[in-house]
Amino acid sequence: MSDMNTAMIEKYRNSFLSEVEANVEEGEWVKMCMQCGVCAGSCPLGNAWEHTPQKIFMMIRAGKRDEVLTSDSMWMCTSCYNCIVRCPRELPITHIMHGLAHYAKRLGIAPKEQPTAKFAQLFWDNLMKKGRVNELKLGVDLYFKVGEGMKTAMKNKDIGLAMWKAKRLNPMEFFGGHSIKDVSGLHKIIAKAQELEEARIAKHGG
């Protein structure tokens, strides 16, 4: 358990809803859920969620902090935005799910071996290096850090080959690849954004 997790438990002892409202992206919307279940029924991977968004909203209000934040449910979101456009109360459900997933990760209590959690982090690290995604390195990371290494790589080798033949995959990306010019400027912008965001959250936790 991280120090931040302990601090947040201490501060919001009796109200997980308040914690979510203060710290999770678009979290202030959670209390607006009227439990109709349209989101649960609209989710393309609904059957893969241990707790559907509808259930997650009720669990937040019921103070089920660990069950929500350590769940792999939010990591099943494909960002299809079906739930957002169908919600009768217009809750930004997709963003709340992303926000909960991110918050769990920030607290260090997201499920460690969850494939989408791992892939999503690799994607962010990848794009941060040079300001643009290096698809080849992302693919290699996917096979070896999320998948089962050579087994996954071999399973997908024909796809890689076909993409290469269609000039939609470039092996030379491994040695550099596309980049923006002002990488240091971008890094400064993101560092400042992280600093501002952390200051805001630290204020809530303190």
């Binding site: 992206e25 393309p44 991977l45 893969a48 494909t78 960002s79 299809c80 935005y81 079906n82 957002i84 456009v85 997709t94 992303h98 926000g99 997933a101 991110h102 990760k105 494939p115 989408t116 959690a117 791992k118 892939f119 999503a120 982090q121 994607f123 962010w124 690290d125 794009l127 300001g131 643009r132 995604v133 698809e135 996917l142 999320v146 399973k155 796809i159 076909a162 993409m163 033949k165 269609a166 000039k167 939609r168 995959l169 470039n170 030379m172 990306e173 596309h178 923006i180 010019k181 002002d182 400027g185 971008l186 400064k188 912008i189 993101i190 400042k192 954004a193 992280q194 501002l196 965001e197």
Partner: protein, 299 residues
């Protein structure tokens, strides 16, 4: 001078040797024919798509798109921003709207951007290329440029998710958008208005992390196209295109199907219908060849 000019955000996957480089080639051809000038945003960066949320918090993610918008405001002032990738468009427009509605976040974004000498107003319209075609140009003008109608080809219009939700195309419904079908008809091909999987999710980025679950959904998208007698599928989204095209062999191996359904971009269809070569239409970028389009392009 070109009839129309836009500030262009091409996105990572459109770059040379990347997974939708064929999309960009056909978009450039299409724009030449429609007299559209695309002014690339100088030094644009990745938008973090909809999967960047694990590593990036709200403000760092918004800052990525804010940098692109700021660069566009500085170098392409007064021009609408246009993206061809659904995720690029969504992330950029989402950022714009959130910053417009939250002065505190806008101030923080500007504090971050100041680190690289940039400043943001967040007031230019942000459009998907489909909006440019349908709203700014219109079916009539699109149709007037057709030299080789795509006669006898039946095409399933697969709109997918993020070109359609949460913003979508004005006047179209989320559940049954019809613009791709209208575009297909405008180009002289046969549309399938009752293609029931037109807004079904393909798994998006989860096609990588949850391949079995995603391929199950992709299977449905292709199967329905076959059921309607489609010769090919058309889509406006790079992730949809790749996901629905490249996993067909794996799906065949798992499910015993015999899929070999070409999946093309609207810009590919338009380039061929406008009489351009197979190379200009990027037909060589297909993993599953679109033979009927090749035949028309060769005529």
């Amino acid at each position: 001078m070109a009839k129309r000019e836009y500030s262009f955000y091409p996105g990572c996957s459109s770059q040379k040797g990347a997974s939708s480089s064929n999309y960009l080639v056909s978009v450039q051809t299409m724009c030449e024919e429609l007299d559209i000038q695309l002014n690339e945003i100088p030094d644009w960066n990745c938008c973090a798509a909809s999967i960047g949320y694990a590593g990036g918090g709200e403000l760092p993610r918004l800052a990525l798109s804010a940098r692109n918008i700021a660069l566009s405001e500085e170098h392409n002032p007064g021009q609408d921003i246009v993206a061809t990738c659904a995720a690029c468009w969504l992330a950029t427009r989402e950022t714009q709207e959130r910053l417009q509605h939250d002065e505190g976040l806008l101030a923080e974004a500007n504090t971050a951007l100041a680190e690289a000498g940039l400043k943001l107003r967040a007031d230019a319209p942000i459009k998907h290329m489909a909006e440019v075609l349908i709203q700014d140009i219109g079916y009539e003008e699109i149709g007037s440029k057709v030299k080789k109608p795509l006669e006898g080809i039946k095409i399933a219009g697969y709109v997918g998710c993020q070109t359609n939700r949460p913003f979508g195309i004005a006047g179209e419904s989320y559940e049954n958008p019809k613009y791709l079908d209208k575009l297909v008809e405008t180009l002289g091909a046969d549309s399938i208005p009752t293609y029931e999987k037109k807004v079904q999710c393909c798994g998006g980025a989860l096609a990588f992390s949850e391949p079995e679950k995603s391929q199950e959904m992709i299977k449905g998208i292709i199967e329905a196209a076959y059921d309607h007698g489609a010769d090919m599928i058309v889509t406006p989204c790079p992730v949809c295109q790749m996901n629905v095209e490249v996993y067909q062999d794996q799906i065949n191996a798992t499910h015993g199907t015999k899929f070999k359904m070409p999946v093309v971009y609207y810009s590919t269809l338009m380039s061929v219908a406008y009489g351009r070569s197979a190379a200009d239409a990027a037909l060589n970028g297909q993993v599953i060849p679109a033979k009927k389009l090749e035949e028309i392009a060769a005529k």
